[in-house]
Every structure is written in structure tokens, then in C-alpha cells.
């Protein structure tokens, strides 16, 4: 079932608060099409995009970053169309943290995070003292100060993901997009990553959008959830509205139960034993 906000409602609310508006974007690859989608994500909030494999989550994230040109529709951040910006201007506003392969070339953590300042360097070849301050800030927010001189290749997956997040934060973006930031992380790191994202979204007032397979983390930590299926938005809204057993069972092709997590009061998904 498609749920679409009429265009006028989206523009009036999110414009005032500052945020991301996705207005009827559609896209197609050879074998796959993303149907006209509308979505809204507010600044200071964490929005989770969930859905089965192949539902178009990563494609949507690429579209939200402004890098993938849509067939129709537009992506507006704080009222500005992301396609109107040059890649450098866009990189100053939008940070995209994806699954990274560890490089053949090693960098220290501080050098790695410093790369996030690149969009802000302008014509200068070196970072200014202010750039260095933001690098320190990003390291501090992700608790990586002791790791600053460590080589990136020597870190564990959890620490490396934090470094990727730190680099994205160093960009000081208004929109932070993360593609499965908790893949390959243990449950402790998973919880910590989501908690950190939610806290940072609030304190720095950026729009946080996370694509994730961790349904329960999304339910517990996100303010707004978007459920995709076969290139369409099945439902979006508060976790309570989206996490409905019949909807999830249909989307993920396996029967699930939805009850309440006793500690958080948020929805909790459990799969039915076969």
C-alpha cells in the first residue's frame, strides 16, 4: 500500500524546521525501477530506511546524496535542490558513509578523518587551524582520540566504522547518510553506533538517514522509519506505525511477530520459528 503525502503538506512543515524533502523521485536501472517516492526527514532526527534486499534502499541513498540523477522529481535539503549544486558544494552539505574496503595505502586515523575537510579547503593546499579544530572535534565525538595516530588498517571493524563516521562528521554536513553502518559489527558496537547517531543528529541538528538491516535497532532508535519494497514505499512514519506484523511479513517474505520491547516501549520484531 503506497502512502504519499501531498506535496503541499511536505513543503510547509519541513521547510520551517529545516530538513530533507524528497519529492516524487523515480529512477530506473535495466532490471529495476524505483517508483515515484516521496519522503521527508527532519533535522535533528534519525530516519531509518528498511526493507528487503533488492528493494532499492541503496539506490535511494545514492539519490538522496544528490549523486544519482533521478528520472523525475527532486531532492531538497533546507529548501535547496541538491542537483543544482556543484559536487564540491554538495560535499559540504551531504556526507555519505558507506561500506569501505580497507585500502592498499595506509593512513593514520587523524589523516583519514582530515580527508573529510577536503570539500572545505577551497584553493588552499593545506588545512587551516579551523579545519584541524573540526578534525579534533570529530575524533572527540566518536571517542577516537586515543586512536589518532593508529593506522586505519590496524583497527577492528567497529573502530574503523567509527573512523568512517568521524570522517563524515568532519565534513560538517547538514545531511548525514549512512549505508548499513553496523554491518559486521557485534551487538555492543551496533547499539553504540545507533546511540551515537541519534545523539549527534540531535546535538548537531543535522538530518540523519540510515539504511539498515537491523530492524530492532531501527525501531528502538529511529524517529521516523521508511519501509521500502520492490522499489516502492510501503509505509513511512513513526516506528509504531510502520512496524506492523502483516506489513513486515509481506515485505520480508517470512512470518514475524511484533510486540513491545520491555525496556524501551518501542516495537520489537521476532521471526516466527519455522
Amino acid at each position: 500500500m503506497n502512502l504519499r503525502f501531498p506535496s503541499t503538506t511536505i513543503h510547509s512543515t519541513a521547510h520551517a524546521a529545516g530538513g530533507l524533502i524528497v519529492d516524487s523521485v523515480s529512477f530506473r536501472y535495466a532490471q529495476f525501477a524505483l517508483a515515484p517516492l516521496c519522503l521527508e526527514a527532519r533535522a535533528g532526527e534519525l530516519t531509518a530506511i528498511i526493507g528487503p534486499n533488492g528493494s532499492g534502499k541503496s539506490t535511494l541513498l545514492e539519490i538522496l546524496s544528490g549523486h544519482l540523477k533521478t528520472v523525475a522529481g527532486g531532492v531538497y535539503l533546507d529548501g535547496q535542490n541538491l542537483h543544482d549544486l556543484s559536487p564540491r558544494e554538495r560535499a559540504r552539505k551531504v556526507g555519505l558513509a558507506r561500506q569501505e574496503t580497507i585500502l592498499l595505502f595506509s593512513f593514520e586515523v587523524r589523516e583519514f578523518v582530515r580527508q573529510g575537510r577536503h570539500p572545505h579547503l577551497g584553493h588552499s593546499l593545506f588545512e587551516s587551524p579551523e579545519d584541524e579544530r573540526w578534525v579534533e572535534w570529530a575524533l572527540e565525538k566518536t571517542c577516537l582520540q586515543e586512536f589518532a595516530r593508529r593506522r586505519v588498517m590496524e583497527m577492528s571493524s567497529g573502530e574503523f566504522q567509527r573512523a568512517v563516521l568521524a570522517r563524515t562528521l568532519a565534513q560538517r554536513p547538514r545531511l548525514v547518510l549512512l549505508d548499513e553502518p553496523t554491518a559486521n559489527l557485534d551487538i555492543g558496537y551496533q547499539v553504540e553506533m545507533f546511540r551515537l547517531l541519534r545523539e549527534l543528529a540531535r546535538s548537531e541538528n543535522f538530518v540523519g538517514v540510515v539504511v539498515t538491516h537491523e530492524l530492532n535497532l531501527a525501531a528502538a532508535m529511529a524517529d521516523h522509519v521508511v519501509l521500502l519494497h520492490a522499489g516502492q514505499c510501503l509505509r513511512q512514519g513513526k516506528p509504531e506505525d510502520v512496524f506492523q506484523a502483516d506489513l513486515l511479513s509481506q515485505a520480508f517474505r517470512t512470518p514475524v511477530l511484533v510486540d513491545r520491547n520491555p525496556s524501551s516501549g518501542r516495537p520489537r520484531v521476532t521471526w516466527v520459528a519455522p
Binding site: 546524496s65 549523486h67 559536487p87 564540491r88 558544494e89 554538495r90 560535499a91 559540504r92 555519505l96 558507506r98 569501505e100 574496503t101 585500502l103 592498499l104 595505502f105 595506509s106 593512513f107 593514520e108 587523524r110 589523516e111 580527508q115 573529510g116 577536503h118 570539500p119 579547503l121 593546499l125 593545506f126 588545512e127 565534513q171
Partner: protein, 333 residues
């Protein structure tokens, strides 16, 4: 050990490298078929006592040769560094994209035709380099822009094809010409007239400086083309520029002195071990490191079997391989 690439640290590093280069140069001016004292070198440089044989040796023979060694060494090392970033492969060297094969073919064809054209072999070599560079560029594009992967394949294929043609032409040359060619193919600094050195200096210096201007972009390019685009790098423009500059540096170096081996691979590696992967520090380190290394190698080439000379490429190869093996053992240990 890695330094933080701030403006101040890079300046200090440059000063240290310049000092090392000066020391190497003074040594190279003093040593050779005829050994000179430092005093003779100094007065030769300052232009005093211009009639003496020592001053003539210093100014007419050794100084241009050392300048050439510095230029070619710097060009090859910086080209290697740039290509390693472009191809995101620390094993790339300046010859992997076929430029040296194109230049060699240009030189060898001139020798084969003989006569006046043989004397112009640096020009034909450079023409060969430029043609190969353009050809590989066109082959290395995918969906209208450079792709590191396609570029590497295009270069390797072209290099091996041109090598086959070179071998074929070699069979058509007289024995005397073949020996001359072998000397050139290995790398030889002894046959370059001063006028070429004077032309080479601004060309190589400017190319290196312009490439240095792309340092911060090269750092980001190491992350991958998509990641770099997401951080605001104009990937197409940077890749094309770096390709042109690195190829130009290789073409200039190889056209005058043949394919001197190991420098373009070894010096960037040593540079990375010393200063890390930040190109703002790495490119100057590679430039000066390459200059120092070739000056030292050329001094050895001139003194080991004096009064005869070895081709400098033989020295870099014989010395380079063990150094490289040692580095390999150290880093994988």
C-alpha cells in the same frame, strides 16, 4: 614514522631534502674519472681560475650531467608517484602504461633509418612517447572518461605490443647500432647535449609543480573514484590531468636518457615509508629522493669502471633489486 602534513612540516622536510641533495651533488662533482678536491670543485663553480682543467671538468662536463641526473631522477620518481595514485596501485611504475616502449620505438626507428634522423632520436623518441600516451588514453576510457582499471589494461597491452615491434626492428639493425641501442634502452645519461638539458629543466620543473598542485586531490583519489566524488573531487578532471602530467614527465625523461629502471617504483615506496601517503609531503620527497638517487647512481656509473662508464640503468637495476627485496621482507615481516 609519519609526519603530519602541515605547511610547516612540509617546509622543514624540503629544507632537509635540499641539504641532502647539495651534499650528493658536491660528491658527484668531485668524483669521477678524474678525482677533484672539494676546493677545486668550489672554485670551478664560482668561476675562478677558468683556464684550469678542473674548472673545465666541473662546469662543462659534470655540472650539466648532474643537473640532468637530478631532472630525470625527479621526473621519474614523481611520475611513478602520480601513476600509483591514479591507478590506486603501489606497484605501478612510470613505464606500466607503455610510454617508455613508445619512446624506445621512436628512438630505434630513427637509428634504423639512420643518417640525420639518427641524431634527432630524442625528438623521435618524444614523438613516440606522445603518440603512445594519446593512444593509451583513448583506449583507457570507459563511458567517456578515464577508468583506472581500463587504463591499466590498455597500457599493459600497448607496452607488450610495442616491445614485440621493438624486438623485430632490432633484428634489422647492424650489430654496432644494436649495441648503441642496448645502452640507451637500459638508461644512459652520457649522450645528452647541453642544449637539451636547458630545454628539459623548465619543462620538468613546471610539470612537477603543476602535479604538486593536485596533491590534496590525489590523497582523496586513493579512497576510490566514488568516494572521491562524494568528497567533492572532480574525478574526471583530476585523473586526466594527472595522467597527462605523469606521462609527460616519463616521456621527457625517457626521450633523453632511455628507460632507467627501478627509480620510478622504488623512490615512491621509500617516500611512503618515510612520510606516509599524503602527497603534499610525498611528492617533494619523491622528487628530491629521485634526484639524489640518480645522482648517486650516476656517480657510481662513472667511477666504478673508470675511465669507462657503465650505463646508469645498469647501476639502478643492480642496486635497486636488492634494495627492493629488502624492503619487501621488512614490510611483510
Amino acid at each position: 614514522m609519519s609526519i603530519s602534513s602541515t605547511r610547516k612540516n612540509v617546509l622543514l622536510l624540503l629544507l632537509a631534502l635540499i641539504a641532502a641533495l647539495v651534499v650528493a651533488d658536491l660528491g658527484a662533482l668531485a668524483l669521477g674519472g678524474v678525482h677533484l678536491s672539494l676546493g677545486e670543485v668550489w672554485s670551478g663553480l664560482l668561476g675562478r681560475d677558468s683556464a684550469s682543467q678542473a674548472a673545465a671538468i666541473v662546469r662543462e662536463i659534470r655540472l650539466p650531467r648532474i643537473l640532468l641526473a637530478m631532472l630525470v631522477g625527479a621526473a621519474l620518481a614523481v611520475s611513478g608517484t602520480g601513476l600509483q595514485a591514479l591507478l590506486r596501485n603501489p606497484l605501478a611504475d612510470p613505464y606500466v602504461l607503455g610510454i617508455s616502449s613508445g619512446a624506445a620505438l621512436g628512438a630505434i626507428l630513427a637509428l634504423w633509418v639512420g643518417g640525420r634522423l639518427a641524431a634527432a632520436s630524442p625528438l623521435t623518441a618524444f614523438a613516440g612517447a606522445v603518440l603512445t600516451m594519446s593512444w593509451v588514453y583513448l583506449l583507457g576510457r570507459r563511458a567517456g572518461r578515464l577508468s583506472s582499471y581500463t587504463l591499466l589494461l590498455a597500457g599493459v597491452v600497448t607496452a607488450s605490443f610495442l616491445s614485440a615491434i621493438i624486438l623485430f626492428v632490432l633484428t634489422l639493425l647492424s650489430t654496432r647500432d644494436v649495441r648503441g641501442t642496448a645502452f640507451w634502452l637500459m638508461g644512459d645519461l652520457s649522450t645528452v647535449p647541453n642544449v637539451q638539458i636547458r630545454l628539459l629543466f623548465p619543462a620538468i620543473a613546471i610539470a612537477i609543480l603543476v602535479l604538486y598542485g593536485f596533491s590534496k586531490d590525489l590523497n582523496i583519489l586513493l579512497l576510490g573514484e566514488e568516494e572521491a566524488a562524494h568528497l567533492g573531487v572532480n574525478v574526471a578532471r583530476v585523473e586526466t590531468a594527472v595522467y597527462l602530467l605523469a606521462s609527460l614527465l616519463t616521456g621527457l625523461a625517457v626521450s633523453v636518457s632511455g628507460a632507467i629502471g627501478y627509480l620510478g617504483l622504488l623512490v615512491p615506496h621509500l617516500g611512503r615509508m618515510l612520510v606516509g601517503n599524503d602527497h603534499r609531503a610525498l611528492i617533494p620527497t619523491a622528487a628530491f629522493g629521485g634526484a639524489i638517487m640518480l645522482v648517486l647512481s650516476d656517480t657510481l656509473a662513472r667511477t666504478l669502471v673508470a675511465p669507462a662508464e657503465l650505463p646508469v640503468g645498469a647501476v639502478t637495476a643492480v642496486a635497486g633489486a636488492p634494495v627492493f627485496i629488502y624492503l619487501l621482507r621488512r614490510t611483510s615481516g
